[in-house]
Structures are given as C-alpha cells and as structure tokens.
Amino acid sequence: MSLLDVQNLTVSHGGLALVNDISFTVERGQRLGIIGESGSGKTLTALAILGLLADNLSARGSITLDGRPLLGLDEESMCAVRGDNISMIFQEPMTALNPVMRIGRQVAEPLRLHRDLDTDAAMSLAVELLDSVGIEHPERRARSYPHELSGGQRQRAMIAMALACGPDLVIADEPTTALDVTVQAQVLSVLRDQVLAHHTALILITHDLPVVASMTDKVIVLRDGEIVDRGPTGTVFDGASSTYTAELVAAVPPMSRSSIAEAKPEGDAPAGTPLVEVRDVHRQYKLRRTSLFETRPVIKALDGVSVDIYPGETFGIVGESGSGKSTLARLIVGLDRPTSGEVHVDGIDVSAGHSLRPLRDVAQMVFQDPMGSLDPRMRVGEVIAEPLRSLGIAGDHPARVAGLLEAVSLPTDVVDRYPHEFSGGQRQRIAIARALAPGPRLLVADEPVSALDMSVQTVTLELLRELKEQFDLTMIFISHDLSVVHEICERVIVLEHGRIVERGAVGTVFGSPKEPYTRTLVEAIPRLDGSFLTPSSAAR
C-alpha cells in the first residue's frame, strides 16, 4: 500500500475546477516533485493534502495516508495528523516563522504538541534537531528570534521543525525560491540528507526544473490543474513526452542544463567612448545608533567600484543579495547618490545629484516586481504616457503609446485596463514599454525576469533582446541568476560585499572562474542533469 494515495482530486472554487481530477501516489521514502507554473494548482494540491484549503474552495476525490482517509476528516483529527504524520515547509521562512517566538521554542512546539514532552525535554531535542540541519551553535541559536537568523538559517530551522516528530511525509512548497543560489544549494542538500537519513517521503513543489532534477526520483507536471506528464525524473526530462514539458525543458537556460560549461563565443572587445563610467564609487549607509555614545555603524553597500560600459553592449551585474548590485543600478539612473566617487552617463555627471533632467532622456529602468513598479490606480495607457508628459516630450502621445505596446507585443486595446488585470509577464512588458517611452539609450534592468515563471522568463528575455536591437539600446542586466546572465550578456562583473571580485567576458568568467567566490556561485547552480549538490558545495 502506498504511503500517500491521491485519487481523482478536484479542487474547485464555485463551479471552476482549479485542480482537475488528478491522481498520484507517494511510497514510503519516495521523493516526488510537483512541477508547474503559477496558477497550475500545485500549491492547492499540497494544501488539500494537509486540509488547509481556504473556506471558499472545496475538494472532492480521495486522499489517504497509510490507508487512512484524510479528505473529510474533521479539524481536530486533522490537527493530529499535521506536524506528526505530515509536515510542511513554506517558501518564505520569514513569514512562516513567528517573529516574536524564539527559534528553539518554535522547533519544540510540534514535539510538545504531538509527543507530549515537557518543556526541557522538547527543548533539548529541538537543539539536537537544529544541530542536525547544520545550524552552528544550536544552543545559542535556539534562543534567537527569527530576524536574528539569515534566510538560509531560517529555512534550516523550518526543516528542523518539519522533521521534529519524524513525519512520514514532508511537503516542501518552493522551499528555496527566496534564497540565494549558494544558500539554496546548502539548504537543498540538508533537506535531501535529512529525508534520506530518516526514510521520509518528500513532495517537493517548485517551478524550477533543475531543482527537481537533483532532488527527486519521480515527477508530475501540472498545467492548469491537470497532470500533463508523469514518470521517473530522468525519463520525463529526457524523453519529454508532452509538448508542454518539452517547452519547460527548452526554457531552461543552457548553463542550467549540465555542469559541463558550454562554450560561449566571445564578442568583440568593446571600443569607443564608454556610455557609462563609474569611477571608484563608494556608497555607505549609516545605521541607527545602537548606544548613545557610539558612532553610527556603517554598511558599505559599494566599496570602490569602477566600471565602464560601452554603447551597444549588454552588461551583466551578478551577485547575491546584499552584494550591492541594486545599489549600483540606482546610482547609475540617479535614484541615489554615491558617498564618494563619480558616475557619468553619456557625459552627464549623475553623482552630482542635481540637474538630472538630461539623464532622464538617456537612462531608464525596469524593476524586478512588475506588480510593485506599476501604479495600481493608473490605467495602462496613463502609465506608459506618464514619462512623455513628465519629460514634456511633444508629439502624439496615444500614437506613441500604441507603438510602444506593439513593440512589447501587447494588443493596443489594453490602454484602458488596470495593471492588476494582467499576468506577471504582461505587467513586466508594460513596465518595459514605459521605460522605453522617452526613447532612452540606456536600459537598466534590475532582476527583470526573477519574479516570472520559467517559460515567461524565456519569452521576456527574448523580447528584451529584440528590443535592444530595435531601439539600439545599451543594456545593464542585473541578476542573481547566473544562467540568465550567461544567456543574455556579453560582459559581466561579479559583486561580493560591494566589491568587484571578477570581471570579463561572460563565457570566460563563468566558464573558467578565477576567483573562489565566482566558482562557488557557478557550482551552486542546480543543473537539469542533477549534478549539483556535490559534497564540496554541500559543505558549509
């Protein structure tokens, strides 16, 4: 008998089936990957198993755990199952952990609840658990609050909590999407080691194919609430039995396919006068005083960065969160001023911080989150025409807006709609159209595809590439995702703690990295052939 048996599960909202008649099983100790893009119903499936669906959703079909039906169980019996037999790891550990409760107590909570342990026994077990997921100084960390831990440590604590009662099944919903790539590698290997050691079954829900490839032995592919593909992990990705899976596999950037670096031809060495000149730029942020007599602590977001970017190139800036890459972008478009050093764009002194009006015609920016970068109260037409009005650009604005919409492949009749009516990819196109409105020569794109689904990423990247040719743009492309940068950029710098650690042609830097930091980044990329998580990268 299978550990988990899901038969003909349908989750519907009103008359609309969001998950439509899906069946699958998970054996003891088996690791199942559920793949799907946003809206495919993968999270709803997990919530249905745990009986955590929102009240306005209804589930039909059957879900049994060890032969015991879960669907239709009353709340009290379900509570006994959750955390004891099945536990869940959420995407964002900062919100999934209670911010005012110490880590140790949170990890101990399921133990006290399900194992009836007293406080001390539960706490010492919690410390052991924290140790087993690779948290250093577990006793001290057990007394910390979630905000005092790094993102990776928090997710490790979540794993410890999920494994506390030795559950039969752990469901992990996009457990590493919010983490940096090196931290992702560490957390994934901890998760894999733990479920292997305890012979726990795992359901890993993600949109990231390479992660699934390296973590699971069986996958199902969901699309619009239906299973379109299933089978052993290797076979599904190689054979690609459905066209949809083939499309998803095709959307994986070459660098994430295998660990054998694909040679990328080097472009011509840049020549001429640079469009962007960054000279020994420092940017420091002063934090709040911790005590009355101390000087205010300083964070060096950028620490002596110099770089030249030439007309017509696509220039990559990579680094993990906190490396200063967004700060550099904001300095270049004049949203921020350097503490010292100079930034020139097209001969305009941006670092002066005033009379930036000429810069607005030259440099525009595309932001990461297309929901946050569009004013929700403005119609699409107004959003795109805003820069034209603001900069006093004469001409037939509606015609220009229509032209821009066409350039980003959106129908021109969307001008009267509001941003929330569009999907993430469409919103990002609107944001790109707005950035192109003043006819800039430089486009600074800060993680423009990171918030998008994999297949939408590919389309958006392709669009950016086309637009770059069509509008004769110079592009600065910022990303934490090396494989995306590898695909679209010619030259790249790698930032760590506000310093450039390596620079050069993309093929050279990623193909044969000279610096250990770059090498760590490259090695940590999950590959479709499942070849990451080598012991060296799993080491802390």
Binding site: G372, Y418, F422, R434
Partner: protein, 292 residues
C-alpha cells in the same frame, strides 16, 4: 514568440458573499447620511414648529400630544424641530473639523514621508505635542481665549485631529514611497510633490477616506460632548449634545428627551462609518470587476 500567454488570466477572485454585505453597508450608510443631509436642508426652510419657541403651556408634552410628534421639552419647545435643526449643527461641525484636520494634516504627513530625516522628526514631534493635549482640553483653551461657540470649539477639534491625520498619512505614504513605481516616476523626472499628489495620494485615499469618516463622526460626538459641558454650541441654537444636557435633569421623568437626541447622534455616526467602508471599496480598482 512561440509561447504567447493568454491575455487576462489573472482575474481576481470574486468576493461574492462578502461583497453583498459590503454593498448593503454602503447602501445603508449612504441612506442614513443622505437622510441627515436632507433633514438639515429641509430644516432651513421648514420645521413643524419654531424650534426656539418657548411655550409655558406646552411643557413636557408626551409624544404626539397636541401635534408635537416627539413631544416637547421642559420649556415647551418642539423636540422634533430641535433635532432637525440640530442636524445642521452636526454637519457643520463635522465638515469644519475634518476640513481643518485634512487640509493641514495630509500635507504635513506627506512632507514627513517624502523628506524623511530631520524634517520628519520635526513634523512628527510637533504632532506628538499636539496629540498630547486631549481634544476637549484644547477646545476649552481655545474657547477661553476666543469666545464660546460652535465654530471655535470645532476649530479646536480640527486642530486636535491634525496629528491623527498626519500620522495616518505618513504611515500609509511611507510604504507607498518605497514601492518601485515611485522609483520609476523619479527616473522619468517627477518631483516628490507631484509623486505625492499623483501616485501616493490615490493609493492611500481609501485609508484616508475611512479615517475622515471616523473623524467626522468623532467630531459630531466631540461637539455633543462640548455642548454637554456647556462650552460648545450656545443656546438658543439647537444642538444634539445640548439637548442631551438639558434632558439630564428630567431623565428620570421623561427619558424620551435624552433618547431621541442620543439616537440622532448614534444613527449619524453609524451612517458615516458605514459610508466610509463603502466608499473605500468603491475606490479600489481591483474590486471593479466584482461590482459590474
């Protein structure tokens, strides 16, 4: 492009049951407020009796006696007429106090959120100082300095509400100023004042409107309280609060004298609160599809 996405796959979920309740709130709130406004307008032209006419032979008549629908008070004045004219005072009070507080509070809060740093510190500490005075105390001070009356009491209440509006504006604006569309507006050359008016205000309008309706009803209550203390609306101008005060002596004998003005106050306050909720929903474009 091979994988064109279908357009408009991102329909927001429809809040059916909740939406119906909300609409009911809105309709009820609007009806009450319109009722109060209509009463005030009618009372300018017509009331059943002269609200200020004292008649010794008609003291403390019961409901319906000798043509007085709600009876008369201890001076023989018609209670219904008094309540009708009292609605003028209530609306005047609400409008005056709320206008003063938003005209000063919103720019102050916006300034603090846009500029941060020492400007924010100065503005918010100034707010704290005003906030430290109880509104009623502030009103007593102002009334003592100028003259007792509805207007001066309400100017004081309006000033007392400035820090509330400023705080709400600042708090809501801060998060909007952090959003990327504000950064985008700066990259295409908009100044902070324009950004505040064009991008931030519409996005915090719902919060402010709810706040305004709450303050409106609080102002009505404050006027009632001040009149109850005798430093608000001066006789013979009718006011619900003063009616309550006048009823105090007779509340054991004829509770009706306290019940009807009290009911008018409670109903008006409820109406504005319900209306505020409804207007907030109506202003949200994300809920537009569920309305049509």
């Amino acid at each position: 492009m091979s994988m064109q996405e279908p357009l408009l796959i991102h329909e927001p979920p429809k809040p059916e049951q909740r939406g119906r309740w909300r609409r009911l709130n809105f309709v009820v709130g609007l009806s009450i407020v319109l009722g109060v406004v209509a009463t005030a307008l009618v009372s300018f032209l017509w009331t059943p009796f002269d609200p200020e006419l004292v008649a010794a032979d008609k003291r403390l008549l019961g409901m319906g006696e000798r043509g007085h629908p709600l009876g008369t008070d201890q001076f023989g004045r018609d209670l219904l007429s008094q309540i009708m004219v009292g609605s003028q005072t209530a609306l005047f009070v609400g409008i005056l106090a709320v206008t003063i507080s938003i005209l000063i509070g919103i720019p102050l809060g916006g300034l603090a959120a846009a500029r941060r740093g020492w400007v924010e510190d100065v503005v918010m500490r100034f707010s704290d100082v005003i906030y430290a005075f109880p509104p009623v105390l502030l009103a007593i001070l102002l009334v003592a300095a100028v003259s007792p009356g509805t207007a001066s009491a309400m100017v004081a209440i309006g000033i007392a509400y400035i820090p509330i509006v400023a705080r709400v504006t600042r708090g809501a604006s801060l998060s909007i100023f952090e959003r990327d569309f504000v950064a985008a507006a700066r990259t295409y050359g908009r100044g902070k004042t324009f950004i505040f008016i064009r991008h931030v205000l519409p996005n915090i309008a719902s919060v402010l409107i709810v706040q305004m309706t709450i303050l409106f009803s609080l102002a009505i209550l404050a006027e009632a309280a001040l009149s109850f203390l005798g430093i608000g609306t001066q006789p013979p101008t009718p006011s619900w609060g003063r009616s309550l005060r006048d009823a105090q002596t007779f509340v054991q004998i004829t509770p009706r004298l306290a019940i009807w003005p009290g009911f008018a106050i409670a109903l008006t306050v409820l109406g504005f609160n319900l209306l505020g909720d409804g207007v907030r929903d109506a202003l949200d474009p994300r809920l537009e599809s569920s309305r049509s």
